[in-house]
Subunit: 106 residues, 2 copies
DNA sequence: GCCTGAAGTTTGTGCTGCAAACCTGTTTGC
DNA sequence: GCAAACAGGTTTGCAGCACAAACTTCAGGC
């Protein structure tokens, strides 16, 4: 017995720098395409692609693949959940910042 | 050639949830001991210990080991650098939050 | 002198972020 | 018209690291 796990305070899925940037950028728009996101976040294609895949698997974003001018075009948007989660995350960061002494003691 | 690396935007050493909490708590005090930090951050001893070691190696904190009442007592404080870095980090998070479209374009 | 507990440290491992290689369709040169 | 370059992504390989469990050491009880 004992205390096995650290508090699940900040969600690493969202907290990860690349994805935090991604979600934050997405939260300011309705949707955005791959190339825009790449420029906005500074991520490489490969990393952007895998972060997006992860976010999609967690259902925080939806991904639509189309062809525009005969070129592949990947359009990404936050889901409702995604929008909530990124907002929550920033709130949690806020409370951490204003000192979240969160003793496990009761 | 090509673009090998993603922008070194957020320092993972500090951004990591446990260490972010740790540094933030430390930034509100002059110094704190191991047990206090454990309760304040909710980390397990093991993880707290290794995070502290890493922060110390990066010279963001100083660690002093004493005996108080014949018991080991580990006292931790931010270095000047550490204090700067955590402040910076929060600023960077702020700018990310207010939309950091940071196109690599010039 | 042995057991319990407090205060840390070390170890093992599974995940996962990163960069490089690869893929697929489309222009562009010639 | 066909090969090379390019645009837009995806897949792969590996190295680093966060986490939890096991171990350590010393202090009192009993």
């Amino acid at each position: 017995m004992s205390a096995p796990s650290d508090g699940p305070i900040l969600d690493r899925l969202i907290h990860e720098p690349g994805r935090l940037a991604l979600m934050t950028v997405l939260s300011t728009v309705e949707s955005a395409d791959f190339v825009f996101l790449q420029r906005a976040t500074g991520l490489t294609k490969g990393n952007l692609s895998s972060h997006l895949t992860k976010l999609a698997e967690a259902e925080l974003v939806t991904i639509e693949k189309r062809f525009v001018h005969r070129k592949p075009n990947t359009n990404v948007a936050l889901t409702t959940t995604g929008r909530e989660r990124i907002a929550q995350h920033w709130e949690q960061l806020d409370s951490l910042r204003n000192f979240s002494a969160r003793p496990r003691s009761e």
